[in-house]
Amino acid sequence: MMRFICAMFLAFYAAMAFAHKASDSYLTITPDDAVAHIDGQWDIALRDLDFAMGIDADGDGEITWGEVKAQHERIAAYALARLSLRLAGGICPLRVVEHLIDEHSDGSYAVIRFTATCSQPRGRLDRLDIEYRALFDLDAQHRGLLRFTHAGATRSAILSPEQPTVTFALHDGATPTSGRWAEFSQFVQEGVRHIWIGFDHILFLLSLLLPAVLVLRSRIWQPVAAFRLAGWDVLAIVTSFTIAHSITLTLATLEVVTLPSRFVESVIAISVVLAAANNVYPLVDRARWAVAFVFGLIHGFGFATVLGELGLRSSTLLIALVGFNIGVEIGQLAIVLVFLPIAYWLRATWMYRRMVVLGGSVAIMLIAAVWFCERAFNLALWPV
């Protein structure tokens, strides 16, 4: 009976997820353009290193920096003996240049930075073989998670006891260029997508564009006489918004200027409130391009946060920046192209001037005011 229940008790857990993360190491290999020189970084969990070679010298169950430091040579010897790189068959001796520490989601890791200079055999340097043997003899569930970056393209591989080796083709004509083009168009799409799902940017732009087909006479919106006038107004607004947000998007992405995202998001909400309020209580008329410019600066920081979370590497930063920005402009242009003819056509109607411009602006103000409260005070007012 007892044995049965105990077995049943264990069997309870069939199909239950692990409560913890399994053992992984993170290996980054980056050959330079000349290929023969390779930079690498290898993050191995301190817990795994302790299991493999014993780091907790005083056996108190706590690994201190002092204990790790004292073992640096042994750690390097253990790790480098279990990794081999071969360039076109020629061996690449590894050398540790730096020992650091990093935190991953499941604890502290020893960070081993290394370089390899490959002996150059004759013939084409067209492939790099990587062989990984760390910890597999002790933990069959251990995996080496490899990121290989070369010529602007990043490839990844999962190394396991079943598959401990991987070969990467170098200067593989097809990948880098098509990889770059694919990456570029992906960022363009992300830019378009962002302006479309980023309701706050659309509302800001619309608030400024709504009165473009009107003109302020004695503090009352009147229809403009010619399409040309509305067109110039729209062009000025969209261009200055674009220039402004391109500036800050670039500065923020290059980390020249960074602002806390809560502040940015809050100010973006305010910008929408003010832009809409201006349609209800007009203060600025023909100079709305200036408003677009000033607040465009802050919207650029908002775009930068989104771009940042798409995951950027310095090698593709320019592609990402240009692609994303072009995407944003395309998305914007699409809005304008739909908006302008319709608004121009309806501009003289009561419905457009009262309901769309005034009613719409009041609605936008309210929505944006709620956003502001949510963002500035970290509240959740929308039911999610």
Binding site: I5, A14, F18, R47, G66, V111
Partner: protein, 394 residues
């Protein structure tokens, strides 16, 4: 902007920010503690493991020593929910891992480790082999029954229970059969049988009593008796045995009954466990406390880490996370479907139903509807969800 997108972006942003903060550094203080190990070197268990490892190293071809070490690691994995121990156990059996002619103790351990990796078919094959060699081993039939229940193969599970009756113990059979019966529309009979086992076996170990009580609570819920179920949960908790399954089941009960407020206290100190972290995040989400996103972000980063090594052991949890916290019904549905292909317990059924309803995809819920019909499984929640699904526009 859609709320889904906003939520997803907010979480990606959170994950990205925490990733940005992590950069390799040089600690300045030698005394700084970087990592706490699960076992001290002086711990008796650590000593025992060291000795076992040394014996295996000295006799690498001895299957009994290797199986003993693997079993020790397997029990640790169970207790701690730590997959590293499963990897250590597997490594100990490496010599025989792929061999069909492996010795008996190795085959059984191999089966246990395989099921922990959710390789159910591999585990069942090994258990079948082990059961042929030693049919009097209760553990083998219990595990087979458990795995067949996970796969919703109640006929095979009943056969496993019968093997217990034939070769092992009557009482064991009673528990086993009650467990199966509870799945197939006989909840009240199963409840009575399980309660009988509990009443008669007063000398059982606390962990065994906890097992029976948790099952009683689940059966009571299936019968729509929430008060009774909670009484059993409380009895089980009062045994003071740390048990993640029980905590998860009771936390789900609280969440279902509008008592999210009680969850943080129940699961205090359990953030290391992914399955309990999910319940904490769900409670935060309901309560909307300031700063409540931390659990959800931690969970997201663990899913990301698991995805990097292409682990699919968290499908059920990730589906619930995507559905209830991120509000991403489409992705949640895909995960829930993938999960249902691998495991078919009531919890798996529920998340697939909920995701299908949220995604307004009646077709996607069909497999669960047919499971519910063919098994005649009773559960007021699942029945209600099945009706909701049926009312979706086709």
């Amino acid at each position: 902007m859609s709320l889904i997108a906003r939520n997803v972006v907010a979480f990606l942003l959170g994950t990205w920010l925490s990733a940005m903060q992590a950069a390799p550094y040089l600690p300045s203080d030698d005394a700084k503690v970087l990592e706490r190990l699960p076992l001290k070197a002086t711990d008796p268990m650590a000593r025992e493991l060291r000795e076992l490892r040394a014996r295996v190293a000295a006799n690498p071809d001895d299957p009994d020593q290797a199986a003993t070490l693997a079993r020790r690691y397997f029990r640790l994995a169970m207790a701690e929910g730590d997959p590293r121990y499963v990897g250590y156990g597997e490594a100990a059996l490496q010599t025989w891992w792929a061999r069909t002619d492996a010795p008996h103790p190795v085959v059984k351990m191999r089966a246990l480790l395989k099921q922990y990796k959710h390789d159910f078919s591999g585990a069942l094959t090994d258990f079948a082999l082990a059961g042929q060699r030693d049919p009097s081993d209760e553990e083998i039939w219990s595990w087979r029954a458990a795995l067949h229940i996970v796969q919703a193969d109640y006929l095979e599970a009943t056969n496993d229970c019968t093997m217990l009756k034939r070769h092992a113990s009557q009482v064991g059979w009673a528990s086993c059969q009650a467990w199966v019966d509870g799945m197939i529309g006989k909840a009240s009979a199963a409840y009575a049988a399980m309660a009988d086992v509990y009443a008669r076996d007063t000398t059982a170990a606390p962990s065994a009593r906890l097992w029976t009580l948790t099952r009683l609570a689940e059966l009571a819920l299936r019968m729509g008796k929430a008060v009774q179920a909670e009484a059993h949960f409380k009895q089980a908790l009062a045994l003071r045995v740390d048990d993640q399954y029980l905590l998860a089941a009771y936390a789900d009960f609280l969440l279902d009954h509008g008592r999210a407020r009680e969850v943080p206290a129940l699961l205090k100190g359990w953030t290391k466990s992914d399955i309990l972290l999910l319940r904490l995040a769900l409670a935060d989400h309901v309560l909307q406390l300031p700063g409540g996103g931390a659990h959800a972000r931690a969970l997201q980063s663990r899913f990301t880490a698991a995805a990097m090594r292409r682990d699919t052991l968290h499908l059920q949890e990730e589906a619930r996370f995507r559905l209830h916290i991120l509000g991403d019904a489409k992705r949640a549905l895909a995960l829930a479907q993938e999960n249902w292909a691998a495991q078919r317990e009531p919890r798996d059924a529920r998340v697939l139903f909920e995701a299908a309803i949220a995604a307004r995809d009646a077709q996607a819920g069909k497999p669960v509807v047919s499971w519910l019909e063919s098994s005649r499984h009773e559960d007021p929640v699942l029945q209600r969800l099945a009706r909701e699904l049926a009312n979706l526009p086709q």
